[in-house]
């Protein structure tokens, strides 16, 4: 019984390769997490366990997919970045997105009990959706990352104030919302400080900055590398010899994957970690 009669249906599969030589960002988002966070009693405005679980799942994704150079997470979303020369899965969008979403979900569910030790998961289970976006230049990519971190800041300042008004100020949700209508950042800082003696600057970095995950090497002196120029000259999808690729792979496998809560908007973060943009592994720190 040959299958040839029906095989024509494969012709309907349409190609979805992403434009070469562009930075690929896959962003995933929790589906219905407002409801989900209520069901499991997430602390407000931030639940440290939930963020740590997100970070653990993201770190596992980076570990299983070494082509990812950096990831940034906030709340129930995570962005994963592939360097522009990456050719994983021939850059097919659905393959890249579905693999990341599936791997992330697997770890989120699997690791749940390590972070929420007292409440087992029950249906409907947590799930995530995702999409891929191409950014042609380093500036575009960095602006994307900045956009997410600014969003983190705006939302966290709002939520911190909103929940202070409720938890410490005795307001209900409607009153808190009303109080914050039309306020600027400075106003919210002021409310926090004057009413509740909270200095927003002293809030945990993970809440204020979100989480950035990357392979860690020795920091370099700013100004000693011109990564931008070097990277923009890279024209072709793959430019490496196989032996170089093999060496890089080993170096990457050795590098620790770290989770930090740093400012990724300013140049300093990128200047001192040229490997994030160049895709060339840095120096493994000597053990001491």
């Amino acid at each position: 019984m040959a299958n040839s009669k029906f095989e024509y249906v494969k012709q309907f599969e349409q190609p979805d390769q992403l434009l070469p030589n562009t930075w690929v960002v896959v962003r995933i988002d929790g589906r219905g997490f407002t409801k989900f966070s209520t069901k499991y009693g997430f602390e407000k405005p931030n639940d440290k366990r939930a963020l740590d679980l997100m970070n653990a799942a993201a770190r596992a994704v980076m570990s299983e997919l070494p082509d990812i150079t950096i990831a940034y997470g906030v709340s129930d979303e995570y962005s994963f970045v592939f360097q522009k020369s990456c050719t994983l899965f021939e850059r097919r969008a659905s393959k890249l997105v579905s693999t990341i979403v599936s791997t992330f979900t697997a770890y989120y569910v699997h690791l749940w009990t390590s972070y929420f030790t007292d409440i087992p998961l029950s249906p409907p289970l947590p799930s995530f959706d995702g999409r891929a976006v191409c950014y042609p230049s380093i500036q575009n990519l960095r602006d994307y990352m900045s956009w997410r971190q600014v969003d983190c800041h705006i939302n966290n300042l709002y939520n911190t104030t909103f929940w202070a008004l409720i938890q410490l100020g005795g307001m209900d949700a409607t009153e808190a919302e009303q109080s914050l209508k039309g306020t600027f950042s400075a106003d919210k800082n002021e409310i926090l400080f004057s009413k509740f003696h909270i200095n927003y600057n002293n809030e945990p970095e993970i809440f204020k900055k979100g989480s950035v995950i990357f392979r860690d090497y020795e920091l370099v002196e700013p100004g000693t590398h011109n990564v931008v120029e070097e990277v923009e000259k890279m024209a072709e999808p793959i430019q490496q010899s196989k032996s170089q690729a093999e060496k890089d792979k080993k170096k990457r496998a050795k590098a620790p994957i770290v989770i930090e809560h740093l400012d990724i908007i300013k140049d300093d973060f990128w200047d001192r970690r040229p490997w994030l943009l160049s895709n060339k592994p840095g120096q493994i720190p000597k053990e001491t």
Copy 2:
């Protein structure tokens, strides 16, 4: 701190809506399942626990996404079908694919211990990738389904014979492969019967036919509905009044989701279940 300076990066998101009025099939596949099945000692040629787990995860997907009208699974793959008038997530490919992949993965990991009671999951965890394909006509859709079921048959007959030669005939993998080179279906049936007294027809239906999942209503007499004509006349993405949609939704929620191992190539399966193509719920069977 406004976010407007960076928000331009949203312009790089490119639309990926699937063509209206076409059947959408999302097929997911296990990533690296050869290695995975070895790690967890899956029985060969078929592991009943593994198939039951796949089916349980797929049933959960159908339960959480009522827009799916039918699903078909074999081995480590599953195909989910959305009726051509479906407008879920505005038919955005990445959203449809990632949601299905994520939900499936979540249940697969979560339900693992119910089916593999003695071996807990450990990293690297199982994951799946997926893609969406549009089929313009009922004939195309049915040919797609037939393609998968014929594939199931071809692979299962081969694997059953291959593993019989090894497990019962004492061959190693190379010898078994060599024995089967160039053989036709009839030859494999003959090998099974003459050497091992196995009548392939008596093998379990779940292995021979795969699994089909759908909402179950009362079967209709073949020939009383002309679904094809009716469905092809449906031209617009949405044609229902809201109240009708609401009624249908309730009916669907009441219908049991069943897992069967039937021939989905022949007309009979479709003729007796017009709701699978028409997207109009059938009659809920009376309790007896």
Copy 3:
């Protein structure tokens, strides 16, 4: 001097094949034709020479691209339809669109002096843009065609009344526009008749119905063919033997390409010309 160093740039060409088994409509539109028609003194509301030139160019397109089964034109736009099994240029959108636009433009410019005998073309020259759209079912395709013909009717009734108010009624454009604000079809018919003794039904068919171009064969009795069912069963892009294709090609070459001004909304037009949907040539009329 090998070219291999630069050839990698070909990788950036992204595929744009249109979904198989769908009707492809390429619609072209005149660019800036309001200005253009003023420059060459087109008669208002309709310029017969301009429409005849559009039709002549469209007929030439159909003659050079026999895969087109029907075309419909109104004002400065034309729609060309490829049967759903068509595989011309591997269904690449840019190739289909650019070829039609280019061929149409070539004939429009070349034939200009045959229709506008007294005014030669001068820069800026007339040009057209185009796009391709896929329609999965016959109903969708016919609704597309109906949409264009209804548009023709609506615009022509409006324009006929508008210009009557100006040319015969002595109004200026603003007054005419004001008079027609909020009027229905019946009102416009009434204005034409009561004020100017114009019976809209007696207006030339080419103005009221637009122009439809197709290969002509002997009409069939309505009800003797069930083209819809037959066509919907066609599942694969190509189903013909080469010899059959060759025969069909010859028959098509013999069939006269006609320009008519018929109602293409009602079933009758399609029922009597089954070849338009089936892509099977009809009977060449016997000469008498």
Copy 4:
């Protein structure tokens, strides 16, 4: 008679915007120009009239679409480049391609008699197809342009030698082809010189280099601009104030559009004409 019943068909139009912040190249090619050039007796290996006509049509395209910054033509093909910040037609691929193809064709047909004074066009008329490709970086774009010019060189050296063997050496096509099999550039130069006393270097530049069309301003000293860095920092599709855009538009309108036959592979061409990449008009030369 409202058109709403059919208007749903507009939903089937799928978006085709090109990725922002990438260089857009629209390349058009003559359809069936081997046959066409025979029909009109084009001189071999190059017909100066035919090339001049191509250049005249391309110049007209650039004049009507000021968003095009540079164009490069060889034989029956032409490439038109839009700067990466260009937002013409919202970057819709089909609109960009069809407009260029149509405008080019219109001028090609219209200007035919100015270049081929003795042979009027007759059906089938010349036509062109086209496609759009995105290049993310300056390096990619320049490599694309280099690819076309190297192709021009390779083909022209081959054709010059091939036709010398036929026209001067008395060979037939098969013999000439056979003679050139496996030869390198140096061999062909040698054949031309030793057999026919032709120094390939002295061939006309238009044949050897192809034609490049651009707006001309005062050349700048190489090294005084770092256009690459400046351009790569441009992140957003539009960055100009309206008044600046207006000024630039006027400057562009004043700049002469020139047709040259220069080396566009080396840096010098681009270094001295920074406006080609930066999209900022240069200095209009003072009249003397």
